[in-house]
Amino acid sequence: MKRKELESCLQQVDVFEKPKLLLEQYPTRPHIAACMLYTIHNSFDDIEDKLVADLGCGCGVLSVGAAVLGAGLCVGFDIDEDALEICSRNIEEFDLKNIDTVQCDVCALVPERFSNKFDTVIMNPPFGTKHNKVQDLLTLIFGDVALWFGTCCLCCSKPSCRCRLVRRDVDVSASVGRC
């Protein structure tokens, strides 16, 4: 599947109807999601036939992308049931059998218990860009949790639109590219 095909596929994902400011909800743009997923799929083979976690999945843009690229199973975690409702709708409409979702507070998880369970973590987590002091911690917590889960890839959608890839085994942060 070409990157452009993936991108146009992701453009059809339903997004938040009433985004919640405090949860820093916004949909991951199809272009950046496609860039990120395509790179980790092609350059690192971290999606196909892998167990993938999407922390803060929201409407499921990244999860749908991972599933379409052939993830063995993608599990989306999000705190908001309205977002998960939209995510479920997307999963149904795309007829995807390899996505599960779990409603939970990622920050309240005990990350050690998830040690090495997942192959890959993809996420576009809250970054504290909405004037909420509590949220400044969230990036760190999400990052922390993600590193326990497995090899991971971050995505920063605003404002610089750059994807960061963090791989535990390589121990290097590589900038995947500006989209």
């Binding site: 596929c9 705190i79 795309f94 059998k97 309240a108 218990r113």
Partner: protein, 168 residues
């Protein structure tokens, strides 16, 4: 075939008025679409592979694993078999927990309770594991923390692991 699905991709681009040509609105389900030949609404699910990963994080709980499944609605589905994925998952999961969960749901069939040493080479065995990991789905029920007794509900296949303030 759903929109955007991979095999034989059929794209359903939205038109200006927000509709999808060739599809119709599912009556009674706001915002959902289906082709006439497809079932209108498919409930989501929790697979046993997902269950195998989840733990309870109620305050004071030391392990919170495994969560006991009480299912009121279970569904079987068809998922493409991938032997490589299944044999890679086996070392990652807790085998006894998977067996127990499958047994609780009444779908253990003839899956052995002990992991055979040469499982990677047995396609027959891997297919049985595939079935239990990915094709048995819990739609409704709850997950019970083995230490605190706290029950986490599963609604439309989504387990709700959110804690109350006094439990964190």
């Amino acid at each position: 075939m759903g929109k955007g699905s991979l095999s034989g991709i059929t794209a359903y681009p939205r038109t200006i008025d927000g509709s999808f040509p060739g599809l119709q609105r599912c009556p009674g389900h706001y915002g959902t679409w289906s082709s006439a030949t497809q079932p209108c609404w498919v409930l989501l699910r929790m697979k046993l592979l997902t269950h195998n990963m989840l733990t309870s994080h109620v305050k004071g709980v030391t392990k919170g694993y495994p969560l006991l499944i009480k299912a009121t609605e279970v569904k079987l589905t068809d998922v493409d078999f991938n032997s490589e994925f299944v044999s890679r998952m086996i070392p990652k999961i807790e085998w006894s927990v998977l067996v127990e969960a499958a047994d609780t749901l009444g779908h253990l069939n003839d899956l052995p309770r002990d992991l055979p040493p040469d499982y990677e080479s047995s396609e027959d065995f891997l297919r049985k594991v595939h079935h239990v990991l990915l094709e048995v789905e819990v739609l409704e029920g709850n997950l019970k923390c083995p230490e605190s007794g706290r029950e986490f509900p599963i609604t439309k296949g989504v387990p709700n692991m959110l804690l109350n303030e006094d439990e964190v």
